[in-house]
């Protein structure tokens, strides 16, 4: 069984023994697994993942200097259930599942683990209780977008944004674009979006953004003031580099809400007085609830949201390392799906 293995900032493909599902587990053949920006980030800054983990008192026990396996945006085809195991899925079904393995009282994350195989592999083990059956004949590639889209749904839900409010989305990576998809589906408008990349701004417009801004040409909040400026505003920070939270706080009008979903792993400077004087509400978001994950799968399967434009390439296991590099260029790929059935190292363009 082949899997991508990470160590000290490099990726390679390794052969592992075949996996055996235990009681309460499901063995799947991976059909598609999206490459997430946090994978790229953790490969370059694995030590900061550990430092953060320590800082919050997590017992993840993740050692970035040993071999580890990534991939948490997967869709698999069920091969076998563990002994005496009940599940919503059976052999042959396509399934998606939240990236956790529950073992007694402990929950282990899938996707940043020295022990558990992630989605960049031919096969993997899922928790039988978490497996959702992919409905409506939905294609495995689109089904594997459930996870990043659920992040966007959760962030939109947590923001408390309602019809009648306006949205300013800073950043058009996959999470920023996922926000646009959900905001549009909720009937929010105007949706003002900013990114340095023309390609990503184009995608945002295709997905429903009302105005797209190059921050070199216009301050995003000024674009909102130009076309609206009166609705209650929610600012979504989906860039995740130092300085962006400060920019969101400076951009926000008094009493505005800020939803931080960009993952900035470094220390960052803010100006608290600006938050105080404006009485800002700032919420941070990550992951999703189980119902949001299921709602996302069904929204994709029922065509309530169109996520196909997000997918820009597909690649086999041997091409994952190259895809990580390619994803560093915002003018190139946006969401690359790993399909272990593909051979070679080239990224197959999707659009």
């Amino acid at each position: 069984m082949r899997t991508v293995v990470a160590k000290s900032g490099a990726l390679r493909v390794a052969e592992l023994p075949a996996l055996e599902p235990e009681a309460g587990q499901v063995l799947v053949r991976v059909r598609s697994c999206g490459i997430c920006g946090s994978d790229l980030h953790s490969l370059r800054h694995a030590e900061s993942v550990v430092a953060m983990s320590d800082a919050i008192g997590s017992e993840r026990n993740f050692d970035p200097d040993a071999d580890y396996m990534m991939g948490h945006e997967y869709c698999g085809e069920v091969l076998a259930l563990g002994p005496a195991t009940e599940s919503a899925v059976g052999p042959g079904d396509l399934t998606v599942a939240m990236p956790f393995l529950i073992r007694g009282a402990t929950v282990e994350a899938i996707g940043f683990s020295n022990r558990i195989v992630g989605g960049y592999a031919e096969e993997m083990i899922l928790d039988a209780g978490l497996c959702l059956k992919v409905p409506n004949g939905l294609d495995a590639g689109l089904a594997s977008l459930t996870e990043p889209l659920a992040v966007g749904l959760h962030a939109v839900n947590r923001s408390g944004i309602e019809r009648g409010d306006a949205a300013l989305v800073l950043g058009c990576g996959p999470i920023g674009l996922s926000l646009v998809v959900w905001l549009k589906a909720r009937g929010i408008g105007p949706i003002v979006v900013s990114d340095y990349s023309p390609r990503r701004r184009g995608l945002a417009a295709e997905l429903g953004a009302d105005v797209v801004v190059d921050p070199r040409e216009e301050r995003p909040v000024d674009a909102w003031k130009r076309i609206d400026g009166v609705r209650p505003l929610v600012v979504f920070e989906a860039v995740g580099v130092p300085g962006m939270i400060d920019e969101a706080m400076r951009s926000a009008p008094s009493k505005a809400r800020i939803l931080v979903v960009g993952v900035c792993m470094e220390r960052d400077a803010i100006t608290p007085m600006i938050g105080v004087i404006k009485e800002l509400d700032m919420k941070f978001a990550v992951y999703y609830e189980a119902d949001e994950f299921a709602d996302t799968l069904h929204a994709i399967a029922e065509g309530l949201i169109d996520v196909a434009p997000l997918v820009t390439g597909r690649v086999g296991l041997d091409g994952v390392a190259g895809a990580f590099t390619a994803l560093g260029d915002p003018e190139g790929q946006v969401k690359v799906l790993v399909d272990p059935a593909l051979t070679g190292t080239e990224i197959q363009p999707v659009r």
Copy 2:
């Protein structure tokens, strides 16, 4: 008419021409005005007040290099109403009012102004529409605590804290202590409070804190874990120095709420990833709504909250400069009330 005047970090007493109330205004004799921590801070860092004002696009037009007048926690005795002016108060009434003068479409702040006399003066002008009559024969000194207590009430209201939640209050300055007063009145428990000053911790305990912590001896969040650790926690940051928001974020359990009411005027570093991983809710608070200001006055007048322990000294106009210095020592004064009828420069101890 004598008033304290600030310029370039120094205070002096100056003589001004008598004030005349215009239509819609009330002339009062100042009976008491509390010295606020933000006054001390602005005297040392007036340039940062201006920088912040610019950053948020305010048109306050405050020039800290020219003479300016402070004092926004006042209670006055009405001397005269302007021509054709209606008000809830008449000559001889004690009154408190939110620190604003409304002139047509512009609202000018009282308390940081080059033009408008503040509460560190024998007389001042208030907006007739904002004047509340002090009820129940309440003493002017306690009535002048309405403003800082309203800040605490607003922060507690904005935090969304409810009976059944726990509170961790970082900092026992007047605002931290005001939070304790309101949290106790709301039936919140446990209330865990931290401060380096034994005197201020003692006051917090007297006002209703269940546990007081010296952060040199125990991390405040550990004290909460020791005696509770299970209730939904709201962390109140009422210190306002760099590093405290980061400490609040690191202390907060997952999904906790943080209410920032400490006024940190400097740049400050946070670790956004901690907020993201814990999905924190962080709200900033300043000032209050008109109904909260009125509710505070009535809560004091009706004895629903006991704020007398906050007052540690009284001083005349000639002693304001010395009181600013004395307030720099947390073991000394907590809340000093300026009473323009007092003579000399000594602070009269209250307790």
